[in-house]
């Protein structure tokens, strides 16, 4: 385990050094990313300026929700670049080389690249979080925060899911809500924790179970991954 962590640290070190070679390009990319992701919140702000409220939620409350999802997604994008580019890794035959090495493929893919430009989205998310938490009456339920993990294995619906999770789940139709609570635990990543933090719900078994949904989803995803690797037939290049 310590060995794996040290190896991961090395992977990250190499990746960071490579990206900092071209500092101007990096700065431009990070600022560009900040703007690109910032427009999403600009749109939310515009809608609140026009309508005032969203099903009983205020702009700051939605901001809290948005920030949780945004920060989680930024971390996910930065660390999971290897899974993002997995199709090209597979096509080029690079995955076969990973299989030959005596370390887990997941560790190697995680270490593929730590994408620094995602600091743009991250700083934007943190800024919204700071602003949103300024005037919120915090309830003692903040502990549910770290369920963000479940976003990391979120590949099929990445961007759409991220977008949808930035708004309170109760505005969606029932079938949509059920799917994203029970099948894919999107609601557990931000919506349930945010409700607890805002004091909208008393803390009950559901909230305590939310992080478990993340872990459960991760376990299932890892299982599917193993299955896929076992059936992997190389392209032969």
């Amino acid at each position: 385990m310590m060995d794996a962590l040290r190896l991961y640290g090395r992977y990250v070190g190499i990746s960071v050094r490579a990206q900092l070679t071209y500092r101007a390009t990096f700065a431009m990319k990070a600022i560009g990313h900040l703007l690109v992701t910032g427009i999403e919140f600009l749109a939310i702000w515009a809608l609140f300026a026009r309508f005032g409220t969203l099903g009983g939620w205020t702009l700051r409350e939605v901001g809290l929700l948005y920030a949780i999802v945004d920060i989680a997604f930024a971390i996910n994008e930065a660390t999971n670049r290897g899974f993002d580019k997995f199709d090209s890794i597979l096509k080029k035959g690079d995955f076969d080389r990973m299989l030959l090495r005596p370390r887990s493929t997941i560790l190697q893919l995680l270490g593929f690249e730590l994408q620094l430009m995602r600091v743009g989205r991250l700083s934007q998310g943190i800024a919204v979080l700071v602003w949103a938490s300024g005037s919120i009456a915090w309830s003692p339920g903040g502990g549910a925060f770290w369920t963000i993990e479940s976003l990391e294995v979120w590949n099929a619906f990445t961007y759409g899911g991220n977008y949808a999770a930035g708004y309170p789940m109760d505005i969606y139709r029932r079938w949509f809500r059920r799917f994203f609570t029970a099948v894919v635990p999107l609601a557990c990543t931000a919506y349930l924790p945010a409700r607890a933090i805002l004091g909208r719900d008393p803390i009950d078994a559901w909230h305590l179970a939310a992080p478990c949904a993340g872990i459960g989803f991760l376990v299932i995803a890892l299982g599917v991954w193993r299955l896929g690797v076992r059936h992997h037939a190389s392209t032969g290049t």
Binding site: V36, I39, A43, L47, A49, F51, G55, Y159, I171, F176
Partner: protein, 270 residues
């Protein structure tokens, strides 16, 4: 003229090959469309007094935006960027065609073929499937034949604006070879100010004159509003005027910029 037509035809055939990507995109676009409609429906539920656009029109606007979203100039043309990076752009200068014209022809094909490929199935889903699955969320047909005809004209106008913007992005690659800075900025502005994220009429009233003075409004917003009837047939001519005026300005600026870029181009012999 024949040369440009040949470029457009060749690019068109190449781009129409990407059918699998279109199907994948269709799923994502339907998903995004549904989420956006649900979000706006929830906002509209809060007594929308004095909201400048009615909810059914917003639904149509969102589907049209999803159907034609590839009009948004997201990236520079990869082949042109490669020409500039590798220096083979000087070969292009030896051809008996004007460089701006060639790049514009490429952009024109790039902003038409993929859009058509995705737009038609998206229309089928939004007009025929959605009413069965989720009544009230469908794309309603245009109010009249005249409105439809005007929309077609405005859609063509949007392709012109988009192509002029794409060509301009390509030209900036002459200065910023490695960075994606300018394309990223233009893409961001076009995404939000083109009407893809939320309908432009929903922005604050004080922002409206600025939003509609920009060329981006002609990409998705104005044509969609002609289709849904939020802009009447009688005023659709102004939309066309907006698009054509901006196309002329962008082409003129692009030509001027390209001429400057070519003048400072250094050809290394060998």
């Amino acid at each position: 003229m024949n040369g440009y037509v040949a470029i457009i035809a060749a690019r068109f055939r190449a781009l129409l090959q990407y059918r699998a990507a279109a199907i994948g995109g269709l799923f994502t676009q339907t998903f995004f469309g549904l989420v956006r409609i649900m979000i706006l429906e929830a906002f509209y539920a809060a007594a929308p007094l004095g909201v400048p656009i009615a909810f059914p029109q917003v639904v149509g606007y969102i589907w049209l935006g999803q159907a034609t979203l590839l009009l948004v100039p997201w990236r520079s043309d990869e082949d042109v960027a490669e020409q500039i990076r590798s220096g083979t752009v000087v070969y292009e200068l030896t051809r008996p065609l004007d460089l701006y014209g060639m790049w514009f022809a490429r952009s024109l094909a790039w902003r038409t073929a993929p859009v058509l490929l995705r737009m038609l199935p998206m229309f089928v889903i939004a007009m025929l499937v959605i009413p069965i699955v989720a009544p009230g969320w469908q794309l309603a047909p245009p109010a009249s034949v005249a409105a439809f005809a005007m929309w077609l004209a405005c859609f063509a106008g949007a392709i012109l604006v988009s192509s002029a913007l794409t060509t301009l992005i390509n030209i900036t690659m002459l200065w910023t070879i490695a960075g994606d800075g300018v394309p990223m900025l233009v893409a961001t502005a076009a995404t939000i100010f083109g009407g893809l994220v939320i309908p432009l009429p929903l922005f604050p009233d004080w922002a409206q004159p600025v939003l509609y003075a920009m060329p981006f409004a002609g990409l998705l917003d104005l044509p969609s509003r002609v289709f849904t009837g939020s802009i009447g047939v009688d005023r659709a001519g102004l939309v066309l005027l907006h698009q054509l005026a901006w196309t002329l300005v962008l082409v003129a600026f692009g030509r001027w910029l390209l001429a400057r870029g070519v003048r400072r181009m250094v050809v290394q012999g060998g």
